[in-house]
Assembly symmetry: D3
């Protein structure tokens, strides 16, 4: 199948049991994840040859990350060792009306403090079909903002298509700063995960005034501004509670709008990584050359499945997601 | 109260925590169960004198099964020791839209490899009111298919009523094979758990064409074919998701159709054994001489309660199920 | 902020995991709680200076209670040591249609066997704004019934406002006995948690016959009987199941009726202490001088949040509850 | 094999994990046990027909006790229902130099508050070989002290041999009170578990002055005083730490002294019930007619094995204990 | 009793289960601790009035620290809020021949980045008997090295005695740097925890050449250099393995050398905080005016007990440690 | 470094917690392991390029095995999919005097039922330095006995050195059958793990009569019989208890005998895989060209470390084992 490289930060998530607060817990579950790493694992699960590039501290936690990635058959040849620490964050799991709560402790991580292209000597993009990176990476530092563009250009020069997930995080940068960065990043992008909020608040596209589907308007507006972007996609998430969401996938492809069936996710086991599972599903559909409706049904199904398992990564094979698209019933087969 | 013998296989179930996949789990919960064993435990809970007959390997797992049954006051005098192994299966617990997943590892078990009536020297049916057995047992081997009929006839000769749960399992035999077996089994049966799917696909009864209650039609058709069957019953399960089902019990008794109130089961803690709890509830009602409506309300309530506890067996007493039939509110009494 | 004293029993709760019955469990979670203690913790969380008075056995379990209270910054200077034992109870956690089940084992506890005012030498009420106590305390013994009134009068003499939560427990005393006790208690009360059931069955107020809001009628009727009561409040709880309740707070203040938005609590993590969180919310609002609507929204939000955490106490700060009142979306902020 | 009845209290033990204190724990492991119940389970494991008589509260904890006993194949026909509560105790597990710590909460239990022979209408001792009871039972109340003797006499009249374990507990009665009680109890006893401490402090036998084996002197002195006692036995326990004991069994039988090999128990998993496993081992040897050395080796091995499993009861079969007597190596067989 | 202030960093420890490596674990136990905080908790357990001063991030982890300290009755009035993060470290628990392994992730913590005396406006030392601080604090930064001396001088000016634990950490600074710092710190110190290694490698005292007790020589040499130091103490630890140590306490007081009995600690449950428990034991003895032998027996017993519980803090009361000094047998009392 | 292929069965181990018996457990820990797989993981940890060949069922358990191996960087290209099931076994963890207990449930596994060389089309041995296989594989069936020799010859023809671990399992074949098989296998072997028991009972070498080191005699005798064997090695294990062993490694290399220091392993966390860790250590030493003493110290240290971690595989890197050889103190470095 295809060859993909993703590059970004991977962090240790320390999370509480449902019903236990961060200030009261006596233990944490440990998971490793990050947007680009999660996309890598999903695509490896679908049979693609995927490498994840990052920088890890040379200690047991770095070792744990390698074990996590290798267990999922993601190539780790482009993972550098060094720097001070692994980024971490604490997650107080939400439930019902009570939202999850996050404490980030990611400053000064091995990856975030990279300032030059430390992968320059590695042949990162040879024969690679897609290079995927996200706005979280760009948000880490001024250096990373520049490096993101540098890497995209190198990838494009090597013949890769560029996939970018805007993934705006308010705790990492302001909307204004993100908007400015996107002006330099988006011109390099082929496939882009971005939605109404990104259009409105980061790209400054005027609010939709009509009655119809606003997303068509926003997708068109983004594409008008960045005609290089061939594909746009985003999920619509109806948040009934922290335990119950309804998820619908949307896709703009070839000038057409596609929307998946709505997935009623109740209860949510773990929503971290749900967006990455969706992105990976879209990328897989594009690589496999599926039509728009098939792509968006697959990607949304993959994301819905992710919500049913603990951990950031989507632990489902191509066959499993495909079967879920057609059945998805919740019935035991025996 | 009454005296009951059930006979069948009991297996070790190894299941994952909600949100953890079989391929990723580092531990399994252990439960012991099987259709006829689960029925035995329920009936013992209701105060009946119940013996469960099976064959177990002579090792610690066999010992664990005995402990499980004895703890529930099921008599174990008819349990043979020997053979190679205890049948096992792995259950990936389903949640929300994601269905449970089962890997069977039951071939070659001590029970499945029984070929003769090894209970012949034991006075299995003396003074017994009901002998209960299921289609899972018949499905284990050609020998077991024949043995099922042999045991039923012996039981009938000893004055037992014969209770049979069709319990079709597609992974054990084909619909055609099951249908052929039922032709020799059903003529021996007094009380039978069978529903629309069994009528259509195993017994080849033509599909109902009318607007009304198809089940009445199917129950009548089965009874026409096997006039010896006095009672038929089945649940209707509306599967919203693996975590949310609505369950209604139906009963055909004395030429009349009875239907329970619908139980909204949300969330489901563990649905394995839900059907067995229902069967045991019906058998109890019949033994107690209750009327049709009382029988089906009790049985469906018992099954609904089963869905709220971990483990295959229904851990509720006669008093508890009866109280639940009348209240069932979910309120704390204090 | 204000200074509050609450006085009552605190018990050890031994509870099972969801899906496990008391008769089958091999382990118990341990939590410490009691109506007045829970109110104390909530008010301390909101920044008030709160002391909890009780009597504890001089052993490790008494020590554990102190640790629990001190960790929440509740003052423990008025906690006496002595007596035979800590009251305990066993909770079989309910789920879905199956209600929780409680076994009380509280007789003969250090607190329940207090017969005189053992706090007489302590200056319990100096500079205290509110003294809070509940009907559970009065229900413990004839001595405690009398002591409740004695303490209220001392508090009033010292200038405290008196807060009382009826908190009727059918396993501690009859409706008739409770009703008689209330006739001597309520004349001392300023703020009272009492609802329709209390009005009907304890106070013997005739049932509302109109079409409108019965609560207004009941609140008025109670106030007519006990004109000293300035504030009345209660929750209305729509019990869909043990896992799903809809909760609305109601308040009678200054002759006006206030009602909160309805909170859809699904799933319920732990409802023990939900009423105490509500009472504490109302008391905080009164102490802070908020208007009726603000008080009832805050109190009901606090109670709803309590249902999302394990343990009897409400582990949320003033800032957290306030934020939840305005957002409450269940969305992750990151 | 033989038929045995034991009678006594069975309690719920709530214990902490190694390294966690009672005042800090957030969970407890639940085990059910009591001297006479533990002896019953051991003897049932060895193939004897054993009934345990007690009185339990009619609630889920009583149900749990029944499940525990029945799972071990102990007959529960003589178990009465009623009374206020199940006796409980809290155990802070010891480790290394730190001793275990116990908080008893057993007062007022269903069993302890029995005042008459509530088993009078049951044919408790028909065809029974041994009736076993302990000094813990006699220590519960004046009534129980008298009842102990009454029951022993009834049993003797019915042809039982009487087995008694002194089992002195300083928190239940004084040495003086126990000594007085023993004067009325021991004249009824055939087999008695008693050691040097009992001889010195309860029976007032003068301290041994010689150089040789003091136990022979004490056993002789006890037998001189109570010539009806045919067998005396006790363990010698060298306590290196809470995690490491060396255990030796001693037996006085037919005027001869027998001593087992020393068992080096390191680490101790759970020593509660170690003495009961020893008593049951001796009783089994007597019932099986083994010689003195065989009896004491078996009994001490059984006790040593008990120290390696969690829970009060000895979970080893006759074959397992016998194999351990001869091998006991700690090697895996595979 | 006395009044004590300790000041230092408190960190979150994330540790693995015995037998699980950091690179493989899926969960961490969470404990909060730090040298000065641990001393504070011990002294509060002994009945002293103790305040711990530190700086914590204003988030849930800071909240958890407060709860930990308050639960142990340590005053938190001098705890500042602010800064970036809570220092953390990962502990791979050692066992047998395999040593524990630590990954520090403490750089940039709220406490470590303090540069001025942020406690200047608080009346930290009023009526305080002892101010305790350690070399870990001085090692955090050049600023902290200076601040340590500043705080000591302020405390001394306010009439406090100064207690200092050298606590050399090779990962925080070099021996040379530590040695230079000690030259400015030790002249302020009254009570000092320091041993042979500190004398040799930090203070450059020539190695002992005699046959007798080298410690007497080293203690004398330190005192000669810093005649202001009235008391010196250290433990001697014989490390058989990570699970088995023999611990002896030593004390230099009034020109005399005292040594405790040796404690055989096997198995070790958790040795983190063992030294702090020792220091607190010595300080308690000094405050209580005990003689040298009593002080060192108490302190070493306290440290030995600490090794038997999970968590950094010593969870034993004055009565418990005192009882352990005299008995310490590992026997259950019941 | 070097290139290694190992081939054999990998099984699911289901084990109990310390102190819990198989017949009583409610949960199992899941580990995956097998002699040749464990050797593969160790060698991959040491930096070698290692492939493990086996056959797995095409289900989630097979998937779990792949994840386990890939996480450890073992190549899985030679792993076939198919067959009926994954071999499993149940382990009751031993402790102190009580030995571990194993129930095998491995018959009919995907690997054991291989009858032909299903790897024939794969270029298994190209550029491979060592092919490692064990006597467990040969013991699985007559077919596997023949296949073992076939594979060894192919490997040898391709230029591999042949490593063989006798690993006699009495539950798989008789000593006589194993002895006959060894006559055809050993002539192909270069490096052989075999000890005194193998020499005596499988190879029929007469017992050593002298006073000196019997192993030298046995190693010489084996080598005389099979002069192709260049290296022989085995551990001597002094079994104090299931929790405490003393382990010494021995090596016969170049006609010289080497013996490691003795490792005192107390407590043992998990001894499964200890022998495989030792074999892998020897193979690494041979590949690295170390001298005899260095080889045996490294290998024995690796095995000792394995006993300190849960799981069959040795989770230590080259650097970690090397550091342990030189220090091994059990001290925390911080």
């Amino acid at each position: 199948m295809a060859k993909v490289v993703t590059l970004g930060e991977i962090m240790l998530r320390l999370s509480t049991e449902v019903g236990t607060r961060l200030s009261q817990t006596a233990q944490f579950a440990a998971h490793y994840g990050g947007g680009e790493a999660n996309v890598a694992i999903s695509l490896a699960n679908y049979g693609h040859e995927v490498a994840f590039a990052t920088k890890l501290p040379d200690n047991s936690l770095g070792e744990a990350v390698l074990r996590h990635l290798r267990g999922a058959q993601v190539q780790t040849d482009y993972i550098l060792k060094g720097g001070a620490r692994l980024g971490t964050y604490y997650l107080e799991t939400g439930v019902g009306e009570r939202a999850a709560k996050v404490i980030y402790d990611r400053a000064g991580s091995s990856f975030a403090t990279v300032s030059d292209n430390e992968w320059a000597d590695l042949d990162l993009f040879a024969d690679v079909d897609i290079f995927h990176i996200s706005g979280i990476t760009a948000a880490l530092s001024e250096d990373w903002q520049a490096l993101t563009v540098t890497l995209m250009r190198q990838a494009k020069a090597a013949g890769c298509r560029i996939s970018f997930d805007v993934n705006y995080r308010g705790n990492l940068w302001s909307q204004a700063a993100a908007g400015r960065a996107l002006e330099t990043i988006l011109p390099e992008v082929d496939y882009c995960s971005a939605g109404e909020m990104d259009a409105l608040y980061l790209l400054g596209i005027p609010a939709y005034q009509g009655d119809g589907n606003g997303l068509v308007y926003y997708y068109q507006a983004i594409q008008e501004r960045f005609p290089n972007i061939q594909v746009l996609y985003a999920t619509k998430r109806q948040v009934h509670s922290a335990s119950h969401n309804v998820l619908t996938g949307t896709l703009w492809l070839g000038g057409n709008y596609f929307e998946s069936k709505a997935h009623d996710i109740d209860p949510i086991v773990d929503r971290v990584g749900g967006g990455d599972a969706f992105s990976a599903g879209v990328l897989h559909g594009l690589l496999a050359g599926h039509d728009g409706q098939a792509i968006i049904e697959f990607a949304t199904a993959a994301s819905a499945l992710k919500h049913t398992v603990s951990g950031d990564d989507n632990q489902f094979s191509l066959a499993e997601v495909s079967a879920f698209v057609t059945s998805g019933s919740g019935k035991i087969v025996r």
